[in-house]
């Protein structure tokens, strides 16, 4: 650790460069670090909108019948919630914000391969986000189709599906550009000496993710375009009245959207693989196994989409085969978990906030993933498909998994980004409340699902009242925790204690430069001689 926080050798990247100052110097900058932060702030903004919608839904469900909104409003709320959370929060989430910031640092590069395209993708992101929100303002309001936009309902309804779908299309394009950029960067910009197997695991996970973004996203892009054409020109691709097949829409949608769930979770796994060795002070156990399992998840993940359609009337063969492949995907996820836990063995564990998040990721993701097996099995999925069991499953994976890892990533790289540090104690208190609230919110949903409460239900039968009420209370606790965490982070940015350059004693390259890094990242491009995580 070098004591150099006081005198900087180079100005921080946060200083304006180019001809503009203030906010303009940010939104015209092609520096990956500034773009990463632009992403982080815009993602956080949309995320808060999504959370408020989530809380509103839970409030509505506190009792049967109408509580605070009408049925139609509820349907629009969960659609907007889903669209925001999926396309604006969790898919760009870790890669575009944290990934953008740290990827070049981690591989010892000055920037990504295509800095201008990087900035373009942020603009597309904002455009897509504004389009999605604009549906609130005109016509019959936001789409009411669910984030899946299933035909033919999405073609019949009078709400602003066209615009919502176009928003998703633009966002998909933004995601593709990020993917192209990361793939090229990882291939071409690694610093001297960093062979593939000397690359840290977070870049590896971004690499696998980028492949999914590049090869799967266009499918949903074209599918959504077909919906637009079908709605605006009255041309029926999926309209049974002219012989089209609504099930084909579902196939095309899930061909993208299942791989997309691994876009959501692989970077989170990368973050966890980064955090654990630092706080355990050990070389990560099974480095190669973790790399290979990540690639395996990405690859096999392409061929399991049918498990969302077990009750759609797909052929029986397809149901069985898709169920089979679904089970195979669980194995590499397990391999990662085993290796993380094994890393802790004989380590010297320092339970700082980032590690707390990493470990709670493991716990919550296990619950999410293992319940994924219940829905992956045919007989049980026939029963719990489209019930709140599924809702609980994906909240556990997406937000118990990716969400917690995201928070972990923010807490881990915070001192690198800002050169300051937040209060540890408040961070842990916020986490604890979040954790309790989270479980209270979603575990009742598992039970209700097994008892047969369908999802996307505005109103429910009286037997589900108690569990719904419990779940609503959980949502308030969780919101409290989230508030404390945000408050602590914002306070850290404004008046946190200065942090040294390498506050966690990390071995990866980003910790070997100043905090915050300078415009050029490194004074001289580093040369790597040993594997990462050599403690």
């Amino acid at each position: 650790m070098t004591e150099q926080a006081a005198i900087r050798k180079q100005p921080s990247f946060r200083e304006p460069t180019g001809k503009y100052t203030g906010i303009l110097s940010w939104i015209t900058s092609t520096d990956h670090k500034k773009i990463g932060l632009l992403y982080l702030y815009s993602i956080a903004t949309f995320f808060i909108v999504g959370v408020l919608l989530g809380l509103a839904m839970k409030l509505e469900l506190i009792a049967p019948g109408e509580t605070i909104m009408k049925a139609q409003t509820y349907n629009q709320v969960f659609t907007l919630h889903g669209v925001i959370m999926i396309f604006l929060f969790i898919i760009p989430g870790i890669p575009a914000s944290i990934g953008n910031f740290t990827l070049p640092l981690l591989i010892g590069a000055k920037d990504v391969s295509f800095p201008k395209i990087n900035l373009l993708s942020w603009y597309l992101y904002v455009l897509g986000g504004l389009l999605a929100l604009s549906t609130l303002l005109f016509g019959h309001g936001p789409a009411d189709t669910g984030w899946t936009f299933y035909a033919p309902y999405s073609i019949k309804t009078g709400t602003n599906v066209t615009v919502a779908v176009l928003a998703a299309f633009v966002l998909g394009f933004s995601s593709i550009l990020t993917g192209v950029n990361f793939l090229t960067t990882i291939h071409r910009m690694r610093c001297p000496g960093m062979s593939w197997f000397k690359m840290p695991l977070f870049p590896w996970s971004l690499y696998a993710t980028a492949w999914i973004q590049v090869l799967a996203t266009p499918i949903v892009g074209i599918t959504l375009l077909m919906i637009v054409v079908e709605r605006t020109l009255g041309v029926g691709f999926f309209d049974p009245a002219i012989g089209g097949d609504p099930i084909l829409y579902q196939h095309l949608f899930w061909i993208y959207s299942h791989p997309a769930v691994y876009v959501m979770v692989l970077p989170a796994m990368g973050v966890v693989s980064e955090i654990i060795p630092v706080f355990v002070r050990k070389y990560i156990y099974g480095y190669k196994a973790i790399v290979v399992s990540g690639l395996a998840i990405a690859f096999v993940g392409y061929f399991v989409w049918g498990h969302h359609m077990f009750t759609s009337g797909m052929s029986d063969t397809a149901r069985v085969v898709f169920s089979f492949i679904t089970f195979l995907v669980a194995v590499p996820s397990g391999v990662k978990i085993f290796n993380w836990v094994a890393t802790m063995y004989k380590g010297s564990i320092d339970l700082k906030p980032p590690l707390v998040y990493a470990l709670s990721f493991i716990f919550l993701f296990m619950i999410g993933g293992l319940t994924g097996l219940v829905v992956g099995a045919l007989a049980t999925d026939i029963h719990v498909h489209a019930t709140s069991f599924v809702v609980a499953h994906f909240h556990f994976t997406m937000f118990g998994g990716t969400g917690f890892a995201f928070l972990g990533a923010v807490h881990y790289w915070f001192p690198k980004i800002y050169g300051k540090i937040y209060n540890f104690k408040t961070a842990i208190i916020g986490w604890a409340i979040l954790f309790v609230g989270f479980n209270l919110l979603y575990i009742p949903m598992f039970i209700m699902g097994i008892e047969g409460m369908p999802r996307r239900y505005y109103d429910y039968l009286p037997q589900f009242t108690n569990l719904n009420r419990l779940s609503t209370v959980g949502s308030w606790i969780l919101a409290t925790g989230l508030f404390i965490i945000f408050y602590n982070l914002v306070k850290g940015v404004r008046k946190g204690q200065p942090a040294t350059d390498n506050i966690w004693n990390g071995k990866t390259l980003e910790w070997q430069t100043e905090s915050p890094p300078s415009q050029e990242n490194f004074e001289t491009i580093p040369t790597v001689t040993e594997a990462p995580y050599n403690y």
Partner: protein, 94 residues
């Protein structure tokens, strides 16, 4: 371009490929005049694939690119074909 020695494809080679492509176009049109049932589709697709192969390797210079890039093109192709097969798990067994 210090570090790269780029292969230059000559006029004759390009022309040769072009003529091949025209011939294949002619072949595919003539074959389509006969009805061999589903075989026709396969022949048409085989010819189209051959044409693409010629374009990709020669006109697009994939031949002279790194092994890594060839591998990437291969992976993208394989994933698409596997998706097509998986989709037909449903449609061919309905």
């Amino acid at each position: 371009m210090e570090e790269e020695k780029r292969h230059i494809v000559g006029l004759d080679k390009n022309t040769l490929i072009w003529i091949d492509l025209l011939i294949l176009t002619f072949v595919t049109i003539s074959v389509a005049q006969f009805n061999f049932r589903s075989v026709t589709v396969i022949i048409a697709l085989l010819i189209a694939s051959t044409k693409s192969y010629l374009v990709i390797t020669n006109f697009m210079h994939l031949k002279f690119e790194s092994r890594m890039l060839k591998l990437m093109v291969g992976i993208a192709g394989v994933i698409f074909i596997l998706i097509l097969i998986a989709l037909f798990l449903d449609y061919s067994a309905r």
